[in-house]
């Protein structure tokens, strides 16, 4: 009896192991497919949408700099554009963190009294990322 049981157990263990490895293979395949889809999707974004997005970003830059008439109106449009980008999966990179070379580009650096080295002193241009890809770093002035 115990022999029979142990035989059955062996068969079951074997089956279990095979299923597990099947699952692993399938998972690998799925992961590989997901990677490819993501890559293709990224390439599509780069080729088709990116130029438009960078154009919108340039408009936002101009509004950020705008100090003349109708400032309120201009700012409202800017916020609408930022929202439009966000809805389409494009996030602004935070700049209230201190200099981060993964998302910021030092456009300039200067010593500033009362500011620790690495503090972001000014933001010249907002930065943007999509799915973690920083396609436009924020251009900032960094404290030395």
């Amino acid at each position: 009896m115990s022999e029979e049981l142990s035989e059955k157990l062996d068969v079951l263990t074997d089956l279990f192991k095979r299923r597990l490895s099947d699952d692993l293979d399938k998972r690998k395949l799925l992961e590989e497919q997901a990677r490819r889809i993501q890559q293709a999707e990224g390439a599509l974004f780069r080729d088709l949408q990116l130029p438009l997005v960078l154009g919108v970003a340039a408009v936002i830059d101009r509004i950020d700099r705008h100090e003349g008439e109708e400032r309120e109106f201009a700012l409202a449009i800017r916020d609408e554009l930022l929202e439009l980008l966000a809805v389409n999966g494009i996030r602004e990179v935070p700049t209230d963190t201190g200099f981060d070379r993964a998302t910021h580009e030092a456009a300039a650096a200067r010593a500033e009294e009362g500011s620790e080295p690495g503090t972001v002193l000014e933001v010249w241009n907002r930065g943007y990322a999509r799915h973690g890809w920083v396609f436009r770093p924020a251009r900032v002035v960094v404290a030395l």
Partner: protein
């Protein structure tokens, strides 16, 4: 194992591989297709590429850029705070190591075998330095390929078309023009020429000068006085230049002494400012066409390569010269890497006894004449060319010379580079005294054999005519290059170095 092609550029580098029916660019770990050829030493740790460039303005003294211009020259490219010197080969090795690491990450397997591109007119020392950089990076350099040839391959793939190609390559730091004949999968360079010190960098410089003057006009300081100010001005002007490619005007903003200065620049102004640079490229195009013995109606396709050809004034000029539209279709800053990948695939397959997916046959020409110094009929020492410029590589040529005294026991042997007979316009690459056996008659024949291998590296050997006995092989180890021992040491030192 994947064999990749690396376009090691002055300002940007790229890697590509052949996996399917056509080559593809490998993105770096930041998801970019181009990697800035920039190294920043942050507290002694080298940081390479995208993030290094972003940090450059903060650490201008620890930032090394444009190292390709220093390849093959003696001396350090960077000295760290402890006085440790980095040769140009070592800095390039850091870039190559990072490129290979990113490619490995993309491919999911370690990349060791590579093909690296060089400008067509890189001389022997610069080619050797480039190869050494690869070795120091721990890579196995299967071969070097000239950048225009690589670009020709990339463009040739799309359209399976034979004919004469003119490649106009204006990159970040170098300019070259190459005319080649393409027959199916064969690429033969007919003539090449260029300007080692002409590229987008120089367009930036002129814009920088203009903006700096305007800032002073606005009552601002001379921003270029400090390294930091200069670095910032450079970054701002380079970006403004790019914006002027797609927009008719832009504003360059620079902060100095706590104030921000704004300088508006129009495309027309920029084009006027840099007209002389563009004119220099025009002269080179004419020269190379003359060397190749072709005029515009013999040229089937015009390829624009290099990021700087994105500037509208470049295609306008080429169109004006040729009366024809240049080819479009491949990103001008990716073509070289893509073609290098195809060549890498061919070499990799050959090394492994396999068949390449896209086989190509590459033949290049020498960019400089090689020769030796000999006395002419009037007993005046002059340059005697053995391998003329524009000879098809690989090439092996020999020439005989004669001793000037009976029983002569030694000859001075010089290896020269240059097209002129006049020694004032010739570089002596190597000078050595060769001993002769005793008892030679007057006017004993001495044969000099010179060879240029497929990578453009030079070899020379001298033989006694009568017996064929070798008097010595001249290993072209130029003073400007590292020795094998130094390369080995640097390779070991870099093995465990982590690059961010």
């Amino acid at each position: 194992m994947g064999v990749i092609g690396i376009d090691l550029g002055t300002t940007y580098s790229a890697t590509a591989i052949v996996r399917g029916p056509s080559p593809e660019i490998l993105e770096n770990r930041e998801g970019e297709r181009l990697t800035p050829s920039v190294v920043v030493f942050e507290n002694g740790t080298p940081l390479v590429g995208v993030e290094a460039k972003r940090l450059a303005a903060v650490l201008p003294d620890d930032c090394v850029e444009f190292v390709k211009r220093k390849m093959g020259e003696p001396g350090a490219a960077y000295v760290d705070a402890d006085g440790k010197e980095y040769r140009p080969e070592e800095v390039s090795a850091l870039v190559l190591k990072r490129l290979a690491a990113d490619a490995s990450m993309q491919l999911g397997e370690e990349v060791r075998d590579v093909v690296v591109t060089v400008p067509a007119y890189f001389d022997d020392a610069r080619r050797t330095a480039t190869k050494d950089a690869g070795e120091i990076a721990g890579l196995n350099v299967l071969g070097l390929i000239n950048e225009p040839t690589a670009a020709g391959i990339a463009y040739g793939l799309n359209k399976q078309q034979s004919g004469v190609f003119l490649v106009y390559d204006l990159g970040g730091g170098t300019f070259d023009v190459t005319i080649m004949r393409v027959t199916g999968t064969e690429f033969d360079i007919m003539a090449t020429g260029g300007d080692r010190n002409l590229g987008g960098f120089d367009f930036d410089n002129l814009l920088m000068g203009h903006v700096a003057t305007r800032i002073r006009d606005q009552g601002g300081p001379e921003v270029r006085e400090s390294d930091k100010g200069e670095a910032e001005l450079r970054a701002q002007c380079e970006q403004a230049k790019r914006r002027l490619t797609s927009m008719p005007q832009t504003i360059v903003r620079v902060s100095a002494e706590g104030a921000t200065f704004q300088v508006p620049v129009t495309r027309a102004e920029f084009e006027e400012l840099t007209a002389s640079l563009l004119a220099r490229t025009e002269v080179t195009v004419d020269e190379v066409m003359e060397n190749a013995g072709v005029d515009w109606d013999k040229i089937d396709r015009i390829l624009l390569v290099g990021g700087s050809t994105r500037m509208p004034m470049v295609s306008a000029m080429v169109q004006r010269m040729s009366g024809r539209m240049p080819d479009i279709g491949i990103n001008p800053d990716e073509a070289v890497a893509l073609g290098a990948a195809v060549y890498a695939d061919t070499l990799g397959a050959a090394a492994g006894g396999a068949i390449a997916r896209i086989p190509v046959a590459v033949s290049d020409v020498t960019s400089q004449s090689l020769g030796t110094i000999a006395l002419n009929e009037r007993n005046i020492a002059q340059n005697s060319i053995i391998i003329p410029a524009n000879s098809k590589i690989p090439v092996k040529r020999e020439k005989s010379y004669y001793t000037v005294q009976p029983g002569q026991r030694a000859v001075d042997f010089e290896l020269t580079e240059g097209d002129d007979e006049d020694l004032r316009y010739v570089t002596v690459l190597k000078s050595t005294e060769l001993l002769l056996p005793p008892g030679l008659p007057d006017e004993a024949e001495i044969r000099v054999v010179m060879a240029y291998d497929i990578d453009g590296v030079v070899h020379a050997e001298v033989f006694l005519g009568a017996t064929g006995q070798s008097l010595g092989a001249v290993e072209l180890q130029r003073d400007n290059n590292l020795g094998a021992h130094a390369v080995e040491q640097m390779r070991n030192a870099m093995r465990d170095l982590e690059i961010l």
